[in-house]
Symmetry: C2
Subunit: 472 residues, 2 copies
Amino acid sequence: MATTTTNNLTRPEPKALASALEALTARFGNRLITSLAVREQHAHTTTWIPTQPPDAVVMAQEVADIQDTVRICAKHRVPVIAFGTGTSLEGHVNAPAGGVTIDLRDMNRVLAVHAEDLDCVIEPGITRKTLNEHLRDQGLFFPIDPGADASLGGMASTRASGTNAVRYGTMRDNVLALKVVRGDGEIITTGTRAKKSSAGYDLTHLFVGAEGTLGIIAELTMRLRGIPETIAAAACSFDSVRSACQATILAIQTGIPVARIELLNAEQVKACNAYSKLSLPETPLLLLEFHGSEIEVAEQSKNFGEIAKECGGGDFTWTTRPEDRTKLWQARHDAYWSVKALRPGAGVVATDVCVPISRLADCVTETEADLKRLNLLSPIVGHVGDGNFHCSLLCDVNDPDEMARGEEFMHRLIERAQSMDGTCTGEHGVGQGKQKYLKAELGSEALEAMRAIKQAMDPLNIFNPGKIVPAA
Amino acid sequence: MATTTTNNLTRPEPKALASALEALTARFGNRLITSLAVREQHAHTTTWIPTQPPDAVVMAQEVADIQDTVRICAKHRVPVIAFGTGTSLEGHVNAPAGGVTIDLRDMNRVLAVHAEDLDCVIEPGITRKTLNEHLRDQGLFFPIDPGADASLGGMASTRASGTNAVRYGTMRDNVLALKVVRGDGEIITTGTRAKKSSAGYDLTHLFVGAEGTLGIIAELTMRLRGIPETIAAAACSFDSVRSACQATILAIQTGIPVARIELLNAEQVKACNAYSKLSLPETPLLLLEFHGSEIEVAEQSKNFGEIAKECGGGDFTWTTRPEDRTKLWQARHDAYWSVKALRPGAGVVATDVCVPISRLADCVTETEADLKRLNLLSPIVGHVGDGNFHCSLLCDVNDPDEMARGEEFMHRLIERAQSMDGTCTGEHGVGQGKQKYLKAELGSEALEAMRAIKQAMDPLNIFNPGKIVPAA
C-alpha cells in the first residue's frame, strides 16, 4: 500500500537479538515484556499503515533505564524506539526492523517548576493534561494542545503544535533545553534555562522533531505561561471558505493576538450538527479564543467582530462565561467523534498540509473540489491562523477502489500544498508515511544533509530506524 | 591574551592558496581584492581579539558568486568566511587560518514581500534598517534590533536578538527558511514558506547560529509583523537593581506583552546624564516600550505602572508622542556613546551573559560588586525581560594589570551566570572568544555532538574554521 514505507531494513541477527533480550531481562526482570499483545499495542498506529511490532518492550522508570537499554541494544545492534502514548499519526512507533521499544509512560514526574522564570523541568512521559493539572495551582499552564493527551517527549519529537500554536508557537518555540541519551548511553545536554542563547549549534532544535532517530529524550525544560486572567470564546459562520480565510488573514495582519482560530468546513459543521445535536448553519465556521485581561479580551473580540462583518461573516457571538465558551466550542471538541460517527467502521486518516495563509483558501477550496470529484468523504478542520488544515478521510479499508481514490487524493493534496510553497506536514511529522514527499519539498541536498546528520549522530542506525529520512 | 583563541590551525599550502587566488581572479577580476587595508577591514573585530585578516576578499553580487567561490576554495582546501557588516563581537569574521572572505554587502535585495503571509525573501547582505525602510510603506516591519545596523545573514548566523526579543523572539524565532551554499557549491533548501512544519530535521535552526561554519547563507525567508497602531514609551527609576528586576518578573509573569524592557544600572545612567545632558536620578532605570492598539497600549502602560509602584519604583512616565518617546529613550539610544565618552581611547568589550530572570538581580548585583572590588569601570545595560545583560568593560589595553583584572572579571562573570543555569552568550555568539566556556556550560557530550555535526556538514573544514567548536 502506498502509504506504507517498508524501508527494506535489515532486522537484527537472531543471535544478537536473543543476547540483547537476555541482557535486558537480567537488567529489567518483568519490566521487559515480550507478549505479542503488549508489543502490538506499542506499534499501534492511528493510520492505514500496518502495525509492525517490536521484539520487546522495556518499561522505563528512570533515566538509567533508558541509558542501560540503549547500551545493551547498541552493543547488539538492535533498534531502540521511544514510546510515549502512541498517539502519533505517521507510524512513528512502528518497528519495521524489530527491536526494543522503551515505554516512557512511567517517567512522568515534574522535576521542577520555576514560576518566576516561567519554565519547568519534566520527564518525557508526562502528558500535557497531567502537566497542566500540576501547574494550575501556581497560575501557570503549558500552552501546546495537539488534541490528543500526548506525552511531552513525544510532542517534542514530532514538533507537535495544535489549536493554539497561532499565539503560543509550536513545540519548537517552547522547548528550552533537553537531555538526550545518545548511542553509547551517555547524555547530551542541549542548553540551559536561559531564555535565549547563542552558545553554539542549536542542538535543542535538532532533537525537536527528530522523532527519536538521533537519540532518546530523557528530560525536557519547557517554557510555561501565566494562565490568562480572562478567556473569551467566539464563533462566526461564513458563506465560503474564502471569506473565513480572509477574516483570518486580516486578524493576523492587524496583530490581533488570537489564541485559537479554527476553521470547520461545511462538511465538518454538518457532521457536528448530526453528532452533537447542534443547529449551526451548514457553512464554513470559525471558532476563536482570546486570552488576556478583561479589557484586552473585549478589545480583541470587538476588533475581530468588525473584521468578520467586513468579510461577510454572519452573527458574531463571543462570551467569557466558561459554560457558554464550552457550548460555543462544542462543535470543535466533538469534531473527531462526529467524523467517526459519519461512517462507523471506516478507516480514518488525518492529512496535515500547511501552506502560507494567503494560499489557504485556494488550497482548501481545491481540496474540497477534489474530494467531490473522487467521491470521497472527508470533513476538514483547520488551524487556519497557521495555514494548517487536516482532512479526516474516511475510507472502507476493504474497498480497494475507494482506497486507491483515497491514496490519489492524499498525493494530490500534498502536491497542491507543496506547489503553493507549503509543507506535507505542519505538525504530525514524517514517520513512515511522509518520507516519499520530502524530496519534492526540500530537494535532494536537504535530504543528503539529513542523512549526514543521522550518520553523524547515530552511526549504528539503532535509533528508530526507517523513520524520517528515506533510504538514498 | 586569554580572550583570544588562536586555534592552532593549519594555513592552506602556499601553492594551493596561490592556485585558488588565481582561479578567483580569473572568475571575479577586480572583485577579488587582496590589498591589506581591505583585508584588515574584513577581519575588523570590536573586541580585544587581535585582527587576523584573510588572504583575499571576494565582493559577491549574486548566489552564483558564492557558489563559485566556495567551489574554488574547496578544491584547494582554502577557508571561506562570510562577511556582512563586520559588527559581530567575538571575532566571528577573523581569519585565523587565512583564506577568502566573501563580502555579501552587495547582495542586499529584497526578493519578495508577501504582505498577507507576513513574510519576505531577502538576500543575506541587506541590513535591518534597509529592510525596514523597504517594508514601511506596506505597514510591515522586521522586529529584531540588535543595536548595530547588521546584515540579516550575519544576524541569522549569530542567532542575534536585542531590545525587543522579549516580545518578538530572536533570529531563531524569525527565520522561516534558508538557502545555504554547501561545500560542493550546491544549495541546501531548509524549509518552505509554511509558518510551521514537521518535515524532518530542523535544518533551518541548525544554520541559524552556526556562524558560517556549516555553509554560507545565500537567501533568507523571514517572518514580518504589522507595524503596531500605537507605540508607547515609558520610563521608571528604581532604588535598586533588585526592585527593577522584580518589576520585570511581575510584568512578564502577568503576561504584559512588553515590546522592550531595558535596564540601565546606576553607572550607566550616570554616564548618560553626563553625555546626553540629562538629569535622571542616578539609580537603576527601566525603559519600556509597548506596542498595540491605543486601548491595548494604555492598558499595558497602566498595568505596568501599578507593578512599578508595587515594587517601589519612582515616577512612572509614559507617552505615545514620537518626540516624547525619543526623549524618554534618549539615555538608551546614547548608551554606547556615553560609555565611549567615559574614557576616550580605552578598549571596550561587551559581555553577554543571560540567566533565568529569577537570578538576574543576584547576577547583576554580584557583578557590580565584582567590578568595584576589581576597580574596573563598566556600565551595564540589560535586556532584562530575557535575563540578558551586557557589561561595557572599559580597559586601557596598554595596562597589563588592568587587562588582567578585566580578564578575571569576565571569567568570573561567565562562571557566575553558568552557576545560575545561564549561558555565556545570550545573543553575541561564540566566535573565537567564547569557545573556552562551552564545555563548562553544556558538557563534553554536547561538544562532541557539535564536532560530529561540523564534520558531517563540512568534512573539509573550509567554512569559517576555528570558530564555535573548540579543538578536541
